[in-house]
Amino acid sequence: MDDVHARLVKCFSNVFPSLSATEIPNSRMTSVEGWDSVAMVTLLAVIEEEFEIQFDPADLETMVSFDSVWTHVSKLNGYS
């Protein structure tokens, strides 16, 4: 689980380079400058590539924070 968390932080860091590693776990779409629709698509693509998963299109609208993305990634990785 720790490894998945670290890899997810790395994905966020690549898309939002201005966020520090400590800021990323608390990040939300509404609070991060530059987290727009293009950044969202890039973030999802990076995560799908990293974890070799495919998000359900129906879930995309709920992924608006690190926590919510973490929840979906954990589920798709079979951790919950």
């Binding site: 790395k10 690549n14 898309v15 380079p17 293009v38 698509v41 890039t42 990076v46 590539e49 299109p57």
Partner: protein, 578 residues
């Protein structure tokens, strides 16, 4: 390259004072990850530049193209997909796939291709264009089963072939579709979910490949210039010293066809201007005898020099580089012996050392493909056709000059050198640009030009361009010098001056300056001189007049020039195209 790697590359800030490299990406779909990959590949190839990738309006490729005139960019990448030619060929619009719609789709595609062709034709005259034609499979539009070619498919492919053919008549460069298919299988390209949800139709690996190939077209890498080959078990199968001349082979009957194909490729490379030399540990007489065989595909007259002896290969390579007057970075060395390759690599780290895999057909074939790529060029020029002969002659004339060493003036006078000088500024003639970008030694400042910057420079009405061709009794060298600058009151400002190393030691540089002093009736020439690691020859030339190493902004008066200029024997003519 993965998307995360591309983002990492883009995160690294290039030097703040790095010059910008602006590239326009024109596509009808949302550029998203393709833009990221293009930016990352550009940054890798141009680490000192500030990369800026601009994009146009979503869904309006033809319109964006037509507005490119207003964008001052260094290069443009155009990525076409079927929906750009007719929206019904995509999956985001529901315009109809009925049988009766098909003729209208074909007609629309033809009209759109014509519109794109006209725009590309216009734009390619003033900017560098890299184009990728549709790479995605057609949606199930036609009423025929997918495995059967339909009239509809044929008509669409025919229209696309017409567009490809039309573009190839311009300066624009088109991605080779076979090469894309080699790297990215058709069924691995289309991302339906991404297209429906985000308007981005490519799977990430395909986007990365399209980006890489477009960036290669934009970069248009300088091809290698020379190939040094081993003989035994490389140019032919067998060791001639053991099996004799009759025992070596390069054909199907002796299971040595890959060596025949290698010879065939080297023959083709020689004819496109690549210099071919032999470095072999062998008996020189046996090698002579082997090249006397009538069925040799690469004849001895396409090779220069032969360096055949029993000492280290690196010594041969050194001598060959010296004869060619070429740096190791421009050369490929091919040998079947890993030890010889390692020995050459240790002595010449910049040389590209490639193994001839004599027992692996597939690997040998891939070597041929690789050689074709590293020596690949846009076009074969008149100079390419005479390069080998002119180097061979230069060698002979150097020997002759040695005989005349006490009397260099007599040698030069008897050489009967003729200079043909052209002041035409034909921006479509890329020989001048090629010389500017590949000449290192006699190069005023080492500044390289892109096609765009070169065209922009030539479009300045104040700028003159002087391209010089040379020939003497030993034969022609072709166009060997390029000089560009501006005329001011009594003064000439020289921005660009390069001369091929094949033309050294003939006082051509003196004659060029002498001609400019006379033609423009000027008193001074000011050079935009800059030191580079390899431009010693032009430094030495300028120092002949000043008596000390030249500085940036070097100025030479007519008086000083005439005082120090040696006797000149060239017959100079201005060509009528100027």
């Amino acid at each position: 390259m993965r998307l995360s790697e591309a983002l990492e590359i883009l995160k690294k800030t290039p030097p703040p004072d790095g010059p910008p490299l602006k590239v326009s990406l024109v596509c009808g779909f949302s550029p998203l990850h393709l833009k990221t990959f293009i930016g990352a590949h550009l940054q890798l190839l141009f680490p000192e530049r500030q990369i800026e990738v601009q994009t146009g309006l979503y869904g309006d490729l033809a319109g964006t193209l037509e507005h490119l005139d207003r964008c001052p960019v260094d290069a443009t990448a155009i990525v076409l997909e079927w929906p750009d030619l007719d929206p019904r060929l995509g999956i985001r619009r529901l315009g109809g796939w009925r049988p009766r719609d098909l003729p209208d789709i074909v007609q629309n595609v033809r009209a759109q291709n014509l519109r794109i062709q006209r725009t590309v034709d216009r734009l390619s005259a003033r900017m560098s264009l890299a184009i990728c034609l549709p790479t995605l499979p057609l949606p199930p539009v036609s009423f025929t089963p997918g495995w059967r070619a339909s009239r509809f498919d044929v008509d669409l492919q025919e229209s696309l072939a017409w567009l490809n053919e039309s573009i190839s008549q311009t300066n624009a460069r088109v991605v080779n579709h076979q090469h894309i298919s080699w790297l990215s299988p058709l069924r691995e390209r289309f991302d339906v979910k991404s297209e429906i949800l985000f308007g981005f139709p490519y799977k990430l690996p395909h986007a990365e490949i399209v980006a890489e190939l477009l960036v290669r077209l934009i970069q248009n890498p300088v091809p290698k210039k020379g190939l040094i080959t081993d003989l035994d078990d490389t140019l032919w199968a067998g060791i001639v010293g053991e099996v004799g001349v009759e025992g070596i082979s390069w054909d199907l009957d002796h299971h040595s066809q890959m060596h025949g194909l290698y010879q065939q490729l080297l023959r083709a490379l020689a004819d496109q201007g690549v210099l071919i030399a032999v470095a072999s540990k062998n008996d020189a007489e046996l090698v002579d005898e082997a090249f006397g065989k009538a069925d040799m595909i690469l004849p001895a007259n396409r090779i220069f020099p032969f360096d055949v002896h029993w000492s280290a290969k690196s010594e041969s390579v050194s001598r060959i580089l010296n004869t060619w007057n070429m740096g190791p970075e421009s050369v490929v060395f091919v040998d079947d012996s890993p030890m010889d390759l390692a020995e050459v690599k240790a002595a010449h780290p910049d040389i590209d050392c490639l193994l001839f895999p004599k027992n692996d057909y597939q690997a040998a074939y891939e070597l041929l493909v690789r050689l074709r790529d590293v020596f690949g060029k846009d076009r074969v020029s008149d100079e390419d056709a005479i390069r080998l002969d002119s180097i061979r002659r230069a060698h002979k004339s150097a020997d002759a000059a040695q005989e005349f060493s006490a009397l260099p003036d007599r040698f030069l006078r008897e050489a009967k050198g003729r200079l043909t000088v052209s002041f035409a500024k034909a921006s479509s003639d890329l020989r001048a640009l090629e010389l500017v970008n590949k000449t290192n030694q006699f190069n005023l400042n080492g500044k390289r030009q892109t096609e765009v910057s070169w065209r922009t420079y030539l479009s300045d009405p104040d700028v003159f361009l002087c391209v010089t061709a040379y020939e003497d009794k030993f034969g022609p060298l072709g166009r060997i010098a390029v000089l560009g600058g501006r005329v001011r009151v009594h003064t000439l400002l020289i921005d660009v001056w390069v001369m091929s190393c094949r033309a050294f030691s003939r006082r051509i540089e003196h004659s060029c300056l002498d001609h400019l002093f006379r033609k423009f009736a000027i008193e001074d020439v000011v050079f935009d001189f800059g030191i580079t690691p390899r431009n010693g020859p032009i430094r030495g030339f300028l120092a002949e007049f000043s008596g000390s190493p030249p500085e940036p902004g070097f100025r030479l008066s007519r008086k000083v020039f005439l005082e120090h200029c040696p006797p000149l024997y060239h017959d100079i003519r201005e060509s009528t195209d100027g």
